[in-house]
Amino acid sequence: MSILTLKGVSQQFGGLRAVDDVDLAVEPGEIVGLIGPNGAGKTTLVNLVTGVYKPTSGSIEFDGQRIDGLKPYQISRLGVARTYQVVQPFPEMTVLENVMAPATFAAGAKSVAEARDEAMSAIEFLGLAPQKDVLAAELTLAGRKRLELAKSLAMKPKVLLLDEVNAGLNPAEIDVALEMIRAIAARGVTIILIEHLMKVVMNLCSRIVVLHHGAKIAEGLPLEITRDERVIKAYLGNRYAEANPGGKANG
């Protein structure tokens, strides 16, 4: 059974249809890539799933339960975590306190000690232990992205939506981030990955969904997607197709 199911989901902002009749089924344990040009509606889709917006029409089911219309804090407690394109730390708190917040409120730790243990295990998993007492505002960008991951892990999510976690990182940092995402997936967390870097998408995803003008224009295995005429036209461009004949992806 799918862990996350979107049926005919649309979101209208005034005259703009940001998300247009999207169907999507995500199976447990998958890493699904969500790609598309800027303004295609990827982040809006994340906002719909996490309860920031209530869809204009359509339904969203998580783990067999309707979640459209629930508040963000309720959805997060069910086990849907996200990271933001622009990192959102609590700047005046230490790394440890930042990660204790989701452990306390979303994962429902019963005591401060329990929250601290949960937070520490997420922090150690992501290799942030040396910086645990540093204020979040003093971390580097790569560090803050890692903090976002630690925060979402501490929520003990079943589904994790990663909204461009790699944007702004240098190639070496991206390789490290790739390993981390893989390690998180290995813990059984289902991941939906929004990404512009084809290298990352091709490396990680078992399935790719392409959005364009709010609508889903293609869905399939990474190799199929890179050969899809519509995807090439809308997003990848002819140069990508020519540089990767036969869809061989090295981005």
Binding site: T50, P91, A101, P102, F105
Partner: protein
């Protein structure tokens, strides 16, 4: 070095021995200090921890004063009237908070400022219940002047201690953690599972309960209240200044700020009688300008730069 809450509690309890050493003037100052401490600590919950710039203190204070006065006028014993006034103010805060706490920043500040204005108008026009602009007299207490001064001093100080314990509890509890998250990033808070609406309303109610009781206590203390007195906008502004002086979002800061403010107010009042509000205003501007994080923030910053310095020399 930060000021440990336990020291502040000890200092508050030491103040309780004031009647042994001071005359009625000193007792009046002590009562004022305790009242200021209640107001400042209460504001600190919504303004300091949650970061919502509330100007509703005067609304809670005035509502409490009138609720207490009316209940006492109808024969309710004084302590029960104080308790009931706190509950009335708390309920009012719960209702109003649910309505205006989705506003942010300046919008919330203005909405909260209007609360006192509306209550002022209602109180002034509802003559049959409140006496309107004529004000309201409270039942006379059969006690010597000295005994009364001591009674109200201890009662107000007791209320300040209760408020302190509440603030201390909040700072180390889930509520305080949630409020600090909300202050720093409200959207991210709801993403990590914080029910922001619930915690904001809780903070608003906590910032009203003890202020309502303080209003009722004040009414009993001064025997006579009128709308412009208890709903004065200064009642909303002073606690903010005190918290800024002491250090927002800390347990000890508001108490230190309340004491510092009272001393300033009293000194300025004595020496510049005709222009005291102008001098006090200038002093406040200067302090906020040079101590943006309050006395506690200043101490902490000195400690931090000191630590950095020693690290540098070590390296």
């Amino acid at each position: 070095m930060t000021v440990r809450p336990i020291y502040v509690l000890a200092a508050l309890l030491l103040v309780a021995f004031l009647p042994l050493v001071g005359d009625n003037y000193v007792l009046r100052l002590g009562t004022m200090f305790a009242m200021y401490a209640v107001l400042a600590q209460s504001w600190n919950i919504i303004g300091g921890y949650a970061g919502y710039p509330s100007f509703a203190t005067a609304a809670f204070f005035g509502l409490g004063a009138y609720a207490g006065a009316i209940l006492q006028g109808n024969g309710l014993p004084m302590p029960l009237a104080w308790l009931a006034a706190g509950i009335v103010a708390g309920l009012f805060a719960a209702l109003m908070g649910a309505a205006i706490l989705h506003l942010k920043g300046h919008y919330f500040a203005i909405a909260s400022l209007v609360l006192a204005e509306v209550l002022l108008e209602v109180t002034t026009s509802w003559t049959s219940l409140t006496g309107g602009g004529m004000g309201l007299n409270l039942p006379v207490i059969r006690m010597s002047v000295e005994a009364q001064a001591q009674l109200f001093f201890w009662a107000m100080l007791g209320l300040a201690v209760l408020t302190f314990l509440m603030s201390w509890y909040v700072s180390s509890s889930r509520i305080g953690f949630a409020l600090r998250c909300i202050r720093q990033n409200e959207d991210a808070s709801s993403m990590v599972g914080v029910n922001t609406t619930f915690y904001k309303v809780v903070a608003f109610v906590l910032s009203a309960l003890f202020v309502g009781s303080a209003g009722a206590l004040y009414a009993s203390w001064v025997f006579y209240i009128e709308p412009p007195d208890v709903y004065s906008v200064l009642t909303s502004v002073k606690p903010i200044v005190m918290v800024m002086l002491g250090g927002a979002g800390t347990v000890a800061g508001p108490v230190i700020g309340a004491a510092a403010f009272l001393v300033m107010e009293e000194v300025v009042w004595r020496n510049f009688l005709s222009i005291h509000s102008a001098v006090l205003g200038l002093l406040i501007v200067a302090l906020i300008f040079f101590l943006p994080n309050g006395v506690l923030g200043f101490i902490r910053k000195r400690k931090r730069t000191g630590a950095d310095h020693s690290k540098e020399t070590a390296a």
